[in-house]
Subunit: 332 residues, 2 copies
DNA sequence: TTGAAAGCGGTACCAC
DNA sequence: GTGGTACCGCTTTCAA
């Protein structure tokens, strides 16, 4: 039998109300009885029923997290960041993977919602209209992480536009003039759009030619990297490529290897994301690294402190990480 | 303002009790009013408060999942398996990463427990005594996944003992006679013990010499793989190694590459786990693959159907996956 | 400072 | 078949 607040109250000879006050440290109570009550509580192995407490308080300490079933490479890092902060502040995370099937998506979110979550964090999610409608209709706080949404949903991400400048600047410095961007060709995720835009404008800034066909591949997966090399054939029409996700870059690297292209001598690769994956390749990938952990903890902080305006866009720092896949070449 | 069962009852001119029966499909009710009530419910945008329901029913639909912060490579796959099944059966997953600091561990589990979880699944976790005590003291159902525990906790995993036979048999067939096992040297996790035992007995079965020093490395991480190559130096005293986790195998492969050892010509590697990581290397890794997805869904099924005896040990199939890191050699 | 009591949103027993 | 109602475990006025 579970021990409740009433059991403690009986044992201590006081009312449940007092026990509640003591155990939650709210309101006034006698310090002496407090120590006694706390002792009894631990002695009896009391465990607060947080759901009951939430129900009574009409507010929840649970945060729902929506994670796409695919590319969860960096999601992990974000979740860890959130969790570290959440636990510190006594919040719980209800992490839910969400697949592409829309019907199941809605079901999933529905059950999250019926858990009375305080907020829902969307990790790198581009919600469908139906999903977005369901989400905004309910009055949970929404935060988009690692993706900006054009709606009234605040977001925390890297400055994807600036990040592309960082990357192109770096490649330019290394003498590269013909640069491809692999994996952000579709207009749909806002992130892809921002990256394309940053990429194009960074090229312009350096007076580099812009070849629309050098922006290729829409899916953020391994196959996109492999396929890109097959698509452009040997010799590649560019000297460097930006992989718009680590897994794409690994695909590029392996694809190049398969095609007899030597990296970085014949072809340079720089990756966007900078998860551990970039350290597992030979050579290790140059990369611009996002601070996923920070995104996660910022999200929780922002939620708790309510510091995020509905249309706020928060950026975390990105930094270049050295690797062995970019070579300095003589600008032609 | 949230719409409740009472609001619906008022609107429909019936009692909350009836609405509850209709919405949960329990007990008897008039089919006609049922459709009417359901229509009203959706029209008003009703969302069941599952926590309140759990409270009233004194039973929870939430399953807590404990995941170690490190090597989460295959944890993902297990979680997806659990989630697929869980949602089908209307259960929720409360996934929690657990770090090595014991104090924080206990806190984490405490808050899980106070969420009134139905069960706690431990993914590849070797609980400390304190943790185990806390867990068993509470009356939640426990299931260990991907790790066997010597206590009265049921487990679902691969047959680690048999798996090592599978691997050694394979290498033996390919002509290998001197085989190392990297990453299971410590006696502590039961899994490591079982693997070592299976490994040693499989060698004996084939009348192969057993070199205790060929079982090397205790941590399941990338560095262990790299370090193993440095430790044994060139030329390696064995012709093949078993990496006791994919990430170790990647370390072995890269370490070999760094040392100028050609895989598989000079040195064969076979990995244990078989996550996608094994497909990202060049050459791709041979591996014995565990069915993590199945472990996850089985766990949920077993929980719901209560088919798992306290000391049950459930095994899922493992299978050999071809790759490019094992070469047939002439037995010396 | 403390206690009685009224809920929070649902469920389930029991009578009608 | 349907409704009244007493809880589930905790919080929170409000009075004492």
């Amino acid at each position: 039998m579970k021990v409740t607040i009433k059991d403690i109250a009986n044992k201590a000879g006081i009312s449940p109300a007092s026990v509640s006050r003591i155990l939650t440290n709210r309101g006034r109570f006698n310090a002496d009885t407090a120590v006694r009550v706390r002792a009894i509580a631990t002695a009896m192995g009391y465990l607060k029923n947080q759901s009951a407490a939430d129900l009574a308080q009409k507010q929840s300490h649970v945060v729902g997290v929506l994670v796409p079933t695919e590319h969860t490479n960096f999601a992990d890092e974000i979740i860890k960041g959130m969790q570290a902060k959440a636990h510190e502040l006594n919040y719980e995370l209800l992490v839910t993977f969400i697949e592409s099937d829309e019907v199941r998506q809605l079901q999933t979110v529905q059950s999250l919602l019926s858990r009375q979550v305080l907020a829902i964090f969307m990790l790198a999610i581009d919600p469908s209209d139906a999903l977005l409608e369901m989400l905004t209709r309910s009055d949970v706080q929404l935060i988009s992480i690692s993706n900006q949404l054009n709606t009234k949903i605040p977001s925390i991400s890297s400055d994807n536009y600036a990040m592309m400048h960082q990357v192109v600047d770096f490649l330019y410095q290394k003498g590269h003039r013909d640069i491809a961007l692999i994996g952000s060709s579709e207009p749909d995720p806002i992130v892809a759009r921002l990256r394309r835009q940053g990429f194009i404008e960074a090229l312009a800034k350096h007076n580099l030619p812009y070849h629309p066909e050098f922006i290729w591949g829409d899916k953020n997966n391994y196959e996109t990297g492999l396929a890109a090399i097959k698509h452009f054939k040997t010799p590649l029409p560019f000297t460097a490529a930006i992989g718009s996700a680590d897994i794409i870059s690994v695909g590029l690297l392996n694809g190049a290897k398969d095609a007899g292209i030597v990296v970085p001598t014949d072809f340079s690769i720089i990756s966007v994301d900078g998860t551990e994956l970039t350290q597992l390749t030979r050579p290790p990938l140059n990369t611009v690294q996002q601070n996923f952990h920070l995104m996660g903890s910022l999200a929780i902080t922002a939620l708790v402190e309510q510091t995020l305006a509905p249309s706020a866009v928060l950026f975390t720092e990105t930094k270049l990480i050295a690797g062995g896949t970019v070579e300095k070449i003589i600008a032609s």
